[in-house]
């Protein structure tokens, strides 16, 4: 029994020494995962701006004008799609109306209002195709026709672009 205890003490001491002398290393893995999806983005990028508006003086903004409205559309490369507009015929300020009309449109695969396709914005679907990099740009222009006795105020309205994919 005494011999056995002596041997066990030696073994224990040896094991303890081994444990403390050697750093122990261990590893485990997990996986980092993600699923990439392609989006479609329709952004009202630039406001259709009329600048100064005077009573009795109609003012137009052409699609090529510096203040034309612009929507940026991102989707799948080369995919066909459609756009349609819901447009106001009047801007309103309380009970007062300011006529807006003669809407013009242009759609292009680059941010250029001259080299694409002209169209008349309306509820009818206007076909277009995304560029090889999945881009499209829609430009809108219009004319506001304030009456000579147009009541002063802030006239607002909503332009809605619908993109069907």
């Amino acid at each position: 029994m005494r011999i056995a205890l002596k041997v066990s003490a030696v073994v224990l001491a040896t094991l303890s020494l081994a444990a403390s002398a050697q750093a122990q290393t261990n590893s485990a893995n997990i996986t980092a995962t993600a699923v990439v999806q392609q989006p479609i983005t329709v952004t009202g990028a630039v406001q259709l701006g009329f600048g100064n508006v005077f009573p009795g003086v109609a003012k137009s903004v052409a699609v090529t004008g510096a203040t034309a409205g612009r929507f940026d559309i991102l989707g799948q490369a080369s995919a066909p799609a459609n756009l349609a507009f819901t447009l106001p015929s009047n801007l309103t300020s309380g009970a007062n109306n300011l006529p807006i009309g003669t809407w013009t449109g242009h759609v292009n695969t680059t941010n250029n209002a001259s080299t694409g396709t002209n169209f008349t914005p309306s509820a009818s679907l206007q076909p277009f195709s995304f560029s090889g990099t999945g881009q499209a740009f829609a430009f809108v222009g219009a004319t506001v026709t304030p009456a000579s006795n147009q009541v002063a105020g802030t006239y607002t309205g909503t332009v809605t672009l619908t993109v069907t994919y």
Partner: protein, 152 residues
């Protein structure tokens, strides 16, 4: 050799195993970014209870341990596509399981040493950030994150 001595050696052999295995470690949950969108970077914080990666290890109170990660620079996707993944200075949290344990935020990009004072079982959470390109190929991406723990 007496039977009693042999029994004692057997007992010692039995105790030798936990002594040498002062460290158990496992990965509990993947770091899951879920759906990410082309062109939109996405982050997972280490405190996210669902998406953060999670490891756990068990050692011995009183020990000094070191946690080191092997972090991939990118995730691998379909037909050889890759997507960058990055980790920041606060993307890892180590937390003991004892009631008095305090969570410690650290940088997973560099090895970090801890003294195990109150907890033998430690949970380690990992966040990160992926940056899909605007034309990133759609599909599933993955890569391995390794956590290595060293007990001194």
């Amino acid at each position: 050799m007496s039977p009693r001595f042999l029994w004692l050696l057997g007992l010692l052999a039995g105790t030798a195993s936990p002594l040498s295995a002062q460290l158990t470690i496992q990965g509990d949950r993947n770091l899951a970014f879920g759906v990410v969108i082309q062109g939109v970077a996405a982050s997972v914080v280490p405190s996210d209870p669902v998406k953060s990666g999670e490891f756990e290890f068990t050692s011995v109170i009183g020990k000094t341990i070191q946690i080191a990660f092997t972090l991939p620079p990118r995730l691998n996707g379909p037909t050889g596509a890759t997507m960058p993944i990055a980790f920041g200075a606060t993307d890892a949290i180590a937390m003991g399981t004892a009631p008095s344990s305090i969570a410690v935020t650290f940088d997973p990009r560099t090895a970090k040493q801890f003294n195990l004072v109150t907890s033998a079982r430690i949970l380690v959470f990992l966040g990160g950030r992926v940056t899909p390109a605007a034309n990133q190929r759609t599909g599933s991406y993955s890569n391995t994150v390794t956590m290595t723990v060293t007990v001194f």
